[in-house]
């Protein structure tokens, strides 16, 4: 059993259960860390338990009880003693009802996305707890310094504790008010999985899978509104390309070069059907438009027959719903495909001049690609170097380095 892999895949869900059992984020985080440390120590010799997840939940619970008992010896707080008694009552995590455990990630996300927390804290806390990102990774995803992010997380957890923010899925009447924030968090968890900001993998599959699972739960929870369906469609359509996005060595394969036979057709069918019903019921919203764009790609049997004009039009609408420099960047790329690289480059130059994406590696990477297509090799090389300075994702670095070498060679011989 690969404990590191188990940690990546399961620590978010195990943490979600522990928070429910312990009622305390920090205590739960420490207990889960200790349980994994114990697994590293014991499993190699004693063998992996039959149900590793239940073992980890049970062990983390015992660690937390030990810790609480040590604390209460010094400060006999009524509340702590009561909590300890409640915790020690059941034998361990093994006899948890299945339903309660399955709902834990949903509880966790609704608590993290409580409207009493600032929006940026909501998403950060979701990424830190449910998605299991480190504080450094969350800071990078938000483009803020690590101490700023650390403080934001501490404050959010303090408020959950001291203001009595409950750990539960809200009642039906409250759902509409709460949905927007939760969808955004699910979307960002998926994005983090789909374009990992750090590490050696291009895609963190388990994050995408968790986000899709949460997306399905949201659709079940709220069958009425169209946006949860649009969000699920969007994630399914992107995820359908997973098998084709990386080569055998984990190298990036661009959309135009992907072997489309590797795309997951079942996911595409489900995604397109969901995208269509969502668009029909709800019109062009933030997720519905992105799902429609993903559907344009999914429908094209070969890259050359992609309807780039339609995609550029959808990006226009998307910019109206949600003005954002990253969407402007994507729109520029679509315009470059529909009208030629020179048109796209003009839009990218304007975007670079306004400075909002200064630290975003995909802006110089997109510029470099258009310069390459135009045969302006030394400028392309310069832009690839810029992009390389901005990313720590290993496959992206390898891809950019390869393109840089090509551009430098061509620039030298031109």
């Amino acid at each position: 059993m690969d404990i590191e892999r188990l940690y990546r895949d399961e620590s978010g869900r195990i943490l979600a259960t522990l928070i429910r059992l312990l009622g305390d984020f920090d205590l739960a985080e420490e207990a889960v860390q200790e349980a994994f440390a114990a697994a590293l120590e014991q499993w190699p010799a004693a063998g992996t338990p039959d149900n590793p997840r239940a073992w980890l939940v049970g062990t983390a619970r015992h660690k937390a009880v030990d810790r609480l008992r040590r604390q209460t010896r010094f400060q006999a707080k009524r509340e702590e003693v009561g909590r300890l008694a409640a915790l020690e009552a059941p034998a361990d995590g093994r006899d948890e009802p299945e339903g309660a455990v399955a709902d834990d990630p949903l509880r966790l996300i609704f608590t993290c996305c409580h409207p009493a927390l600032a929006v940026e804290a909501q998403v950060a806390l979701t990424l830190r707890t449910l998605a299991g990102l480190t504080t450094e990774e969350v800071a990078r995803a938000f483009l803020v310094p690590v101490p700023t992010m650390a403080q934001r997380l501490v404050r959010a957890k303090q408020k959950i504790r001291s203001a009595g923010i409950p750990y539960r899925v809200p009642a039906d009447a409250e759902l509409p008010e709460r949905l927007e924030a939760v969808m955004l968090a699910v979307y960002l968890v998926f994005n983090e999985g789909y374009a990992a900001t750090s590490g050696d993998a291009l895609v963190r599959r388990e994050l995408c899978a968790e986000a899709i699972r949460l997306g399905r739960l949201l659709c079940e929870l709220m069958p009425g509104p169209s946006e949860p369906r649009a969000l699920l469609a969007l994630m399914l359509l992107h995820d359908s390309r997973r098998g084709a996005r990386a080569g055998p060595d984990g190298d990036i394969v661009l959309l135009e070069d992907q072997d489309r036979r590797l795309w997951d057709q079942a996911q595409i069918r489900e995604g397109i059907a969901l995208a269509e019903t969502a668009r029909r019921d709800g019109g062009p919203g933030f997720y519905a438009l992105q799902a429609a764009i993903a559907a344009c790609h999914a429908r094209a049997p070969r890259a050359e027959v992609t309807d780039w004009r339609q995609i550029a039009r959808l990006y226009d609408l998307l910019l109206r719903v949600n003005p954002s420099p990253v969407i402007e960047l994507n729109r520029a790329a679509a315009v470059a495909m529909a009208e030629g690289p020179a048109q796209g480059l003009r839009l990218l130059d304007a975007l670079e001049a306004d400075g909002r994406l200064r630290d975003y590696p995909l802006l110089p990477a997109a510029r470099a690609d258009l310069l390459r297509r135009l045969g302006r090799w030394s400028e392309a090389a310069q832009a690839y170097r810029q992009a390389l300075d901005l990313t720590e994702n290993d496959p992206l670095r390898r891809f950019l380095a390869g393109r840089l070498a090509e551009a430098e060679a061509r620039a030298g011989t031109a």
Binding site: K77, H114, A116, S162, G164, I165, P166, P170, E174
Partner: protein
């Protein structure tokens, strides 16, 4: 947990209400308070006299400074409070949203320190 619900409204706006409107608001508060008592959430609650009656006290370097008026001059003023017992923040927010003045002003929900 215990929560203090601080009711902020604009005294100027309340002053503009007709006698009939004031009577209706008063009655709404009566009904609301009664329902809180019945549901077991109520611990205490009062309306406050206008900020014109307020006095602010500070002690600096052992010297007492007393000034006329509320702590801060703002567009909306603290006009009353409820002290309630609620199971969690969601329940406290749901109660705050039923306070009659919340439609004109705002209610700040503050958990009390425990112990």
């Amino acid at each position: 947990m215990e929560y203090l619900l601080l009711i902020y409204h604009s005294e100027a706006e309340v002053g503009k209400l007709s006698e009939a409107e004031k009577g209706k608001l008063h009655q709404e508060y009566g009904t609301f308070t009664q329902s809180l008592v019945q549901s077991g959430h109520f611990k205490a609650g009062h309306g406050l006299q206008p900020t014109a009656t307020a006095t602010t006290v500070r002690v600096r370097n052992g010297k007492r400074l007393t000034t006329d008026g509320p702590f801060a001059e703002t567009k909306e003023q603290l006009g009353g409070y409820y002290l309630i017992e609620a199971k969690d923040l969601d329940e406290a927010i749901a109660i705050a949203a039923r306070i009659p003045s919340v439609r004109m002003g705002a209610v700040e929900v503050r958990p009390l320190m425990e112990g």
